[in-house]
Amino acid sequence: MAARRPAAHKVTLAARRIVGINTLGVATLIWRQVIAEFLAFKLVLLGPALQALLFAVVISLAVGTRIAEVGGLPFLAFLAPGLVIAAAVQRSFESTAFSMVHEKLEGTIGDVFGAPLTAGEILTGYTVGATITGICIGLPVWLVLLPFGAGLPLHGAVMLYFVLTGCVILAFFGLIAGMQSHRWDSLSAKETFVLTPLLFLSGSFFTIDALGEPFRSMMMANPIFHLVNGFRYAMTGYADAPVWVSATVVGILAAVLCLIAMRLVAIGYKVKD
């Protein structure tokens, strides 16, 4: 039925690919993800930093000099890495999850899924955008915590590994949660009842020694605990659990979530109906 189109026509409509990758498409998607975040919500950058500052002030006031040390560190130096990485990964989750739900509700999701991008390219665009956003949020948090005893990282490579893996894991998780949710309240239920408890009970605020037995094992099963643990080791040299265990756990988790997210994007789960 359809008349054969001239070959030249086809060529002009195809995306330009470099080494088989639509680089311009991916770069545009990343740029859009990051820019959308900061153009729409300029103050969002400062929110988490202020929140962390308040936590630090409140805890200094509440504790004073009563907690001398936790694991050989001043309490706030112990606390700071947890606050930094928690802020970064939470923002990374929100970046993919919010834009996914927003685009689905607005109907603009077709602009991404209809573009000549492969599933891998879509996933890369969203994830890298979310990771950049997460780091842009984590950095000011770290800066405001500097006067409270946050320091320069001791192990730069380890820190980079945990920051990147953390942001990527939560970006995947956000993408999966966003694709599953049809409405804002079903997404915010996932954030409130799954992500926030995992973040709060991740050992950012206390050592694992503060817990009794059943909870201690439960905390070891919390992936965010391993992120915080590894990141804290990189920043301060103190670790609640062996760092190689944490590194393995987050590495495997990232791979598994990557496969799930890839599959969902490829079949257009709840997007291509």
Binding site: V57, V58, A62, R66, A189, T192, A210
Partner: protein, 290 residues
């Protein structure tokens, strides 16, 4: 109150609706319905609308704040419990619980009115509230009572949730109820004022981040202000959030940093001032009417 149409069942077709409407217009003249000094019907409808608005997303507006408050209780008790065993002879978790409940109530009362007004402004349906014969006083009361209702819902569920982990007591029911109401009212009024002032959601988020949260955090929820060094000790007394948390805590555990009657007076004064400001904004139509 203008009666525009009789309620039609949802499954009625649009055409049926139009026919009914025109028939009614012909049959009944469109003179305003007579009501007394207070438009009770309008007040009640607006209040009901405000309550239904948050009850529709119950998990987001009532259950979520409870979970957050419980998590705060858990992390602060775990993190500080060993170092700060008691404050003024009270176990730390028992000292913390009333403050966290007040914070949850306050933040949600604020969120209720501010988000309602801003989203109505953004979507343009604010005229549905401004046009009907609802006086500024009725407008303010309906919105604020909606916020107070959400505050009470959140406070009650959080109280129940916490009672599983911390022994909760009622030292003086009068103080408890008074401060729960006035705290929610103060933040609902702030939310109303902020919502009228704000042009978009970012402005509300900015007020939440840079005004409400800092005042709430630095109000003595997590510590007794008697521990503060001098300039801050005096400064803390200028924070109205301090009085609401202190008063609510007095109602719960009978321990307070200032005399209870001072807290009650401050809350009444602040509420009256904010109420007047909100009333003035609504009656002049500041950023509401073109």
């Amino acid at each position: 109150m203008v009666r525009r149409e009789t309620p039609t069942p949802n499954n009625k077709k649009q055409t049926d609706f139009l026919v009914m409407d025109s028939r009614q217009t012909i049959g009944v003249s469109l003179t305003p319905k007579r009501f007394g000094t207070v438009n009770w019907y309008g007040l009640w409808s607006l209040y009901k609308k405000e309550v239904h608005r948050f009850l529709k997303v119950f998990t987001q507006t009532v259950a979520a704040p409870m979970v957050t408050a419980l998590l705060f209780l858990a992390i602060f008790t775990l993190a500080l419990g060993r170092a700060v065993e008691t404050i003024g002879g009270i176990p730390f978790s028992q000292f913390l619980a009333p403050g966290l409940i007040t914070m949850a109530m306050a933040q949600n009362a604020f969120a209720n009115t501010s988000s309602s007004v801003v989203s109505a402004k953004m979507q343009g349906n604010i005229v549905d509230v401004i046009m009907p014969p609802i006086s500024p006083t009725e407008f303010v009361i309906a919105y604020v009572m909606g916020g107070v209702t959400r505050g009470m819902f959140v406070g009650l569920t959080t109280w129940i949730g916490m009672s599983f982990f911390v022994p909760m007591e009622v030292h003086s029911l009068l103080h408890l109820v008074y401060h729960a109401t006035t705290a929610s009212m103060m933040l609902a009024l702030l939310g109303l004022i902020g919502g009228i002032w704000a042009d978009k959601f970012d402005h509300v988020a900015a007020i939440t981040n840079f005004v409400v949260t800092p005042f709430a955090f630095l109000s003595g929820t997590f510590y007794s202000i008697s521990r503060l060094p001098e300039p801050f000790y005096t400064l803390a007394h200028y924070n109205p959030f301090f009085y609401m948390i202190d008063g609510f805590r007095y109602g719960a555990i009978g321990v307070s940093d200032t005399a209870p009657w001072i807290g009650m007076a401050v809350m009444a004064g602040v509420n009256a001032a904010l109420g007047l400001l909100a009333w003035r904004m609504v009656s002049t139509g500041y950023k509401l009417k073109a």
